[in-house]
């Protein structure tokens, strides 16, 4: 009997050995140096740029489509599908299209496609979660085969910053009209890569577009593997199974930096991690209490424990790389004596008790716990109420909280995006001003930034507005976390701009040694 078992085991071992051996034989994959494999932490929700607004989808659109304008590595606005543009009135812009640009199916990009795409994005029937990017757009008028006029509802200076955002990508009108569902399955754009295949939950394959108007990419093929677990993705990277990972846990960075096969990218981001205070309710309707809470926080310690120190301390919602950032403002230092004194002046000499509304994301919960410990030392007792994301948002819109965690990004890299949504009194409620902050002077400055065509005037307005906000202290600004990505060292000339991995540029990249 034992002999049979042994024999079976032996057979199994031999079989496994044969399979493993297959591994060591040369792989029959595509020729080396022409395929790039990257790992993404989630499936894109849709390949149709007007159907979702998640990170993985945006990254795919960036490869498949083009927008009217783009940004270069320095952050300057550069032509893309639009060759030139002009603001021809308070509320009117004219865009002249690059001629001869072809969609992947061979048809030419015309003004009709631009009109169709932009109006489709804001049409309520499309249900795009990114329609907010162009709520200011009234209509698009076709002025010629290669010329369109964008008519806005109100003057809007940062329009170009919004038009480089991926949900404003230009799609072929005829194809989408004919069968939008089929289009979402087999997308057709003008981008550097064409859609190859997609196995949900497993992989996406993109193929080089040899006729790309911006110059054909060097990679023959891009494979994006869906690897939901961050540790598995790192193991894939270390073993060479994938060449890039965009979900690197900050605490892994120090270890991975010692690996010579890897290049770690720790880049400044446009994001802000903060605590929002409700100015409509006690205790934070009192500025002294708000300041006390701000003095109670050790920002450096928080950054260290949550992001492994990767980031910069914040004094405003706008990160240093965002247009309009005020670099004169200093982050609050920790000063427990001052915090206690301010609390006493506000009538909370015996301490203060309140509740913190927290999203059920691991990062938010950890932030809440660190804050709780720091507050306690200043005499502020908070209980943590962890709430599912959607439900928490509803509470925040309605103002049903006293203090809450906040993770936000200025995705357009222009001050207006965050200043208007977070601090203008028109945005009180769902739009983003959950703490119900309202200051007429700040409102006026934000509107100047939103409507004035002169960048110098705009910048001045934002600098002043941030100064006033810092003084009113409606938020506790904590830090701007870094973006952390890891690539294999053999990848050359692949660049990631300040907007993040979503905008990864693969057109010039190649595999070196």
């Amino acid at each position: 009997m034992t002999r049979t078992v042994l024999r079976t085991c032996l057979a199994a071992v031999v079989a496994i050995g044969l399979i493993v051996q297959g591994a060591l034989a040369p792989a029959p994959a595509a020729p080396a140096g022409t395929t790039l494999t990257l790992a993404l932490f989630a499936d894109p929700v849709s390949f149709d740029p007007h159907r979702s607004n998640d990170g993985p989808s945006n990254m795919m659109w960036h490869q498949l489509y083009n927008t009217l304008v783009d940004r270069n590595e320095k952050g300057e606005i550069v032509p893309a599908l639009a060759e030139k543009w002009q603001r021809i009135g308070d509320r009117t812009w004219r865009f002249t299209l690059r001629q001869g640009v072809k969609f992947h199916d061979g048809s030419e990009v015309t003004a009709d496609d631009v009109k169709f795409s932009l109006e489709r994005l804001i049409d309520p029937a499309t249900r795009s979660p990114a329609a907010f990017l162009l709520t200011v757009l009234d209509r698009v008028e076709v002025e010629g085969r290669y010329q369109v006029r964008l008519v806005l509802k109100s003057p809007f200076a940062p329009l170009l910053f919004h038009l480089m955002h991926k949900p404003t990508s230009i799609v072929p009108a005829a194809l989408v009209r004919a069968n939008p569902d089929e289009f979402a399955r087999r997308p057709v754009g003008t981008g550097p890569f064409k859609f190859g295949s997609y196995v949900r939950g497993d992989r996406i394959e993109l193929v080089r577009n040899p006729d790309y108007w911006g110059g054909a990419p060097k990679f023959e093929r891009i494979i994006i593997r869906i690897v939901p677990d961050a540790s598995t993705a790192i193991a894939e990277l270390e073993s060479g199974g994938v060449a890039g990972v965009f979900s690197v846990p900050p605490h892994e960075v120090a270890r991975l930096q010692r690996n010579r096969n890897l290049t770690m990218l720790v880049l400044p981001s446009h994001r802000i991690t903060a605590l929002v205070l409700n100015l409509d309710r006690p205790p934070f309707n009192d500025r002294k209490v708000r300041l006390a809470a701000s003095y109670a926080i050790d920002r450096k310690a928080t950054l260290n424990s949550i992001e492994a120190g990767l980031g910069v301390l914040a004094s405003s919602a706008l990160a240093p790389l965002v247009f309009g950032h005020n670099d004169e403002l200093q982050p609050f230092p920790r000063d427990l004596t001052k915090a206690r004194q301010l609390l006493a002046e506000a009538g909370y000499a015996g301490g203060l008790k309140t509740e913190m509304l927290v999203w059920n994301l691991p990062a938010s919960v950890k932030l809440a716990e660190v804050t709780q410990a720091q507050f306690r030392e200043a005499g502020i007792e908070i209980s943590i109420k962890v709430t599912e994301f959607g439900a928490a948002l509803r509470e925040q819109y309605a103002g049903n909280f006293t203090i809450s965690t906040m993770l936000w990004g200025t995705v357009t890299l222009d001050g207006d995006y965050s200043m208007y949504a977070l601090f203008h009194s028109d945005s009180i409620g769902p739009a983003g001003n959950w703490g119900r902050y309202s200051n007429p002077e700040v409102d006026r400055l934000i509107m100047t930034g939103r409507t004035n065509g002169n960048p110098v005037v705009r910048k001045q307005a934002y600098l002043k507005a941030q100064e006033i906000i810092a003084n009113d202290a409606p938020w506790i600004f904590l830090y701007h976390p870094s973006m952390v990505y890891a690539l294999r060292s053999e990848i050359k000339d692949v660049t990631i701009p300040p907007q993040g991995y979503v905008f990864i540029n693969l057109t010039k990249g190649y595999l070196g040694r």
Partner: protein, 303 residues
């Protein structure tokens, strides 16, 4: 149940920025049928489900049937591999332990079974990856090589490499899942065998001068199989329902991961689709287990 957990598919779908427009939120809710009371939503689901229409995913707008069935082959592959592995290892270890009760082999396999049953799958998975894919790069870290059916078809066209690739991707997740299941099977086989080996007819068989192997396999094991088959059948159902953790750790594109992703996104139609599939599998498997009894033990007859 999922409807009772707080959370709003619309909020998750359109995010912080999108929720800014209450009109759009209301439109979306109406279109998705989420503005109706729960019993009406359920009635609509039932009415469509009987004709095979499971609706469309809230998140991706794809038909639920397509979403679920595109993931099912991957799950079947992994389940079958883990099932074969766990049954082979489990029954072999269990029989050996029972025949050599209190021997070193018995203790070793029972300690192994104890460990197998108590090691968390995600930890075992990570350890297997670190050992066999990173430290000693023998096998791929994660992912699915190629659909098995496709690989077999290619084999008949003379291309064995695709099948080899598919098998290599299958090994680690199957071992990871199979080991924990094998532990349960081994313990059950041992106790069931011990009971049978003490019976009179086994002594008779031995007294007849039959060889030990015939006694153990033909006389004892076959009679000990009934409880084992029951558990193994249930386990197979469990594996087919999607081994969520192993699927996440090994980036295996199966039904379990789809279900979890859909629950997190409050994508009700897809969750319903997954649950329906798993329930149907359990019913079918229980039926076939019951039918197997009759073949294993002719004393059991179905009228």
């Amino acid at each position: 149940m999922l409807h009772l957990t707080p959370g709003d598919p619309v909020a998750i779908m359109i995010g912080i920025e999108g929720m800014a427009d209450p009109q759009m939120v209301a439109n979306l809710r109406r279109e998705l049928g989420l503005d109706q009371p729960l019993h009406i939503q359920y009635w609509r689901f039932l009415r469509r489900a009987v004709v095979g229409d499971l609706g469309k995913s809230i998140r991706t707008n794809e038909p639920v049937r397509v979403e679920v069935m595109s993931r099912f082959p991957a799950t079947v592959e992994l389940a079958v591999a883990a099932f074969i592995l766990s049954t082979l290892i489990g029954v072999a270890a269990g029989v050996t332990s029972a025949v050599r009760q209190y021997s070193l082999l018995d203790h070793a396999s029972m300690v192994g079974a104890m460990l197998g049953a108590s090691i968390p799958v995600f930890w075992l998975g990570m350890m297997l990856i670190l050992l066999f894919a990173v430290r000693y790069p023998l096998l791929p870290v994660s992912g699915r090589g190629a659909p098995f059916a496709e690989a077999v078809a290619l084999l008949f066209q003379g291309d064995a490499s695709t099948l080899v690739r598919a098998l290599r991707h299958l090994i680690l997740p199957a071992v990871c899942l199979g080991l924990s299941r094998a532990a349960v099977v081994a313990r059950l086989t041992r106790s069931s065998m011990l009971e049978v080996l003490r019976q009179e007819y086994v002594r008779t068989a031995r007294a007849k001068g039959l060889r030990e192997r015939v006694v153990v396999y033909r006389h004892a094991l076959r009679n000990a199989l009934i409880p084992i088959v029951t558990i193994v059948g249930l386990q197979f159902g469990f594996l087919l329902g999607g081994a969520v953790i192993a699927e996440v750790v090994f980036s295996w594109p199966g039904v379990g991961r789809l279900a979890v992703d859909s629950i997190l996104a409050r994508d009700y139609p897809v969750v319903q689709g997954c649950v329906l599939l798993v329930a149907a599998i359990f019913v079918l498997l229980n039926l076939s287990t019951d039918l197997l009894y009759g073949w294993l033990n002719p004393r059991i007859r179905y009228q």
